[in-house]
C-alpha cells in the first residue's frame, strides 16, 4: 500500500499519508509558488486510496500559513475525502488552529462550507 512522507521546508508542509492506517497529515506552512506540482503526488495517492479506502480515514490539518495557490490543492484533497465519505465510510477532518488565529479558523470554516465531510475544529495553545 501507499506511504508518503514529505519533510517540511520553510515553504512547504510536512506531509504524511499512510493508506494502511487511513491517515493523512499536513503540518507546517504551505506557501510554495507552484502548489500544483508540490501536491501532485499526494493528490494522486489519495485518489488511488479513494477506490479502496479503510473503514475510517483520519485527516489532521495543522497549518501555520497557507497561500491561495495551496488552498485549491487542499480543496482537491478534501474532494477526494468527500468521495470516500459518500460511499458510507467514516471520514473526519481535524482542523487545528492556534488560539487567537481567527483567520485560520475561518479558513477551516470555508472548507467546511464547501465539503460535505465532518470537520472538527481544534484550538491549540500558541
Amino acid at each position: 500500500m501507499d506511504k508518503i512522507t514529505i519533510e517540511g521546508t520553510s515553504k512547504t508542509p510536512t506531509i504524511v499519508f499512510d493508506s494502511d492506517a487511513g491517515l493523512l497529515e499536513l503540518k507546517g506552512r504551505s506557501i510554495p509558488e507552484n502548489s500544483i506540482e508540490f501536491y501532485k503526488p499526494v493528490v494522486e495517492s489519495l485518489d488511488k486510496y479513494s477506490h479502496e479506502p479503510k473503514e475510517k480515514t483520519s485527516v489532521n490539518i495543522q497549518l501555520e500559513y497557507f497561500n491561495t495557490s495551496s488552498s485549491k490543492c487542499i480543496l482537491d484533497l478534501f474532494k477526494k475525502l468527500e468521495t470516500i465519505h459518500k460511499t458510507g465510510k467514516d471520514v473526519v477532518i481535524n482542523w487545528f488552529y492556534e488560539e487567537d488565529d481567527e483567520d485560520m479558523l475561518e479558513a477551516g470554516e470555508d472548507y467546511q462550507a464547501i465539503i460535505k465531510v465532518p470537520f472538527k475544529m481544534i484550538e491549540v495553545g500558541s
Partner: protein, 183 residues
C-alpha cells in the same frame, strides 16, 4: 546629475520603510524577502495575530508579482524593464502599509479594476461567500491561485484595496496597489 542618496534615504526614513525592493522578483528573491520580513516581525515582538496577517498578505502580494512576471515576459518578449516590479513595506504607530507596483498590459486594466472594485464593494460576510464561491469553482488558472489572491488580501487586511493605474505607453500601464493592515 548625481543621484542624491541622502535624500532618498531621508524619504525612506520619513516614510518608515522597513524593506523595499525594485527589480525582477525571482523565486529566490521572494524567499529571501519573506525570510527577512519574518525575522523583522519577530524582532518587533508583534502580536502573533498581526504578525500572521502581515506575513500572509506579504506572501500573496509577492507571489502576485512573481506570477505576473511570467505573463509580462510572454507579452513583451522578455522586456527587462517591463518585467520589473517595486515592493515596499512600512510600519508606523498604527498600521503596516504594503505597496506594490508592476507593469500590466493596458487591455487588462478594465478587468482588473472591475475585479478589485467588486471586492471593495463587499462587506466581511460577502467577502467570505465570494472567496468560497471562487475557491469551489472547477479548474485552476495557470497561476494556481485561481483569482483568490485579491479576495484573500482584502479579507485578511480587513480594509479596502487602494489602487492606481498609470498609462505608460500605448501598450502598458503601471499598476500600484496599497494595502493597509491595522495593528
Amino acid at each position: 546629475m548625481k543621484f542624491d542618496i541622502y535624500s532618498f534615504y531621508k524619504k525612506m526614513e520619513h516614510n518608515d520603510i522597513m524593506l523595499s525592493f525594485k527589480g525582477d522578483i525571482t523565486s529566490e528573491l521572494l524567499s529571501s524577502m519573506l525570510q527577512i520580513m519574518e525575522t523583522k516581525l519577530e524582532n518587533l515582538d508583534e502580536q502573533p495575530k498581526v504578525r500572521k496577517k502581515v506575513y500572509n498578505v506579504l506572501v500573496e502580494c509577492l507571489q502576485n508579482l512573481y506570477h505576473h512576471r511570467d505573463e509580462i515576459r510572454i507579452a513583451t518578449g522578455n522586456d527587462e524593464n517591463k518585467k520589473q516590479a517595486i515592493f515596499m513595506i512600512s510600519k508606523n504607530a498604527v498600521e503596516y502599509n504594503i505597496m506594490t507596483g508592476n507593469f500590466v498590459k493596458s487591455e487588462k486594466v478594465a478587468g482588473l479594476k472591475a475585479r478589485i472594485d467588486k471586492i471593495n464593494g463587499m462587506d466581511k460576510d460577502e467577502l467570505k461567500q465570494h472567496y468560497q464561491d471562487v475557491l469551489s469553482l472547477e479548474g485552476f488558472s495557470e497561476k494556481g491561485g485561481g483569482g483568490l489572491g485579491f479576495i484573500d488580501i482584502a479579507r485578511k487586511s480587513g480594509q479596502k484595496l487602494n489602487y492606481e493605474f498609470l498609462q505608460i505607453d500605448e501598450e502598458f500601464s503601471f499598476f500600484s496597489l496599497y494595502i493597509k493592515i491595522s495593528q
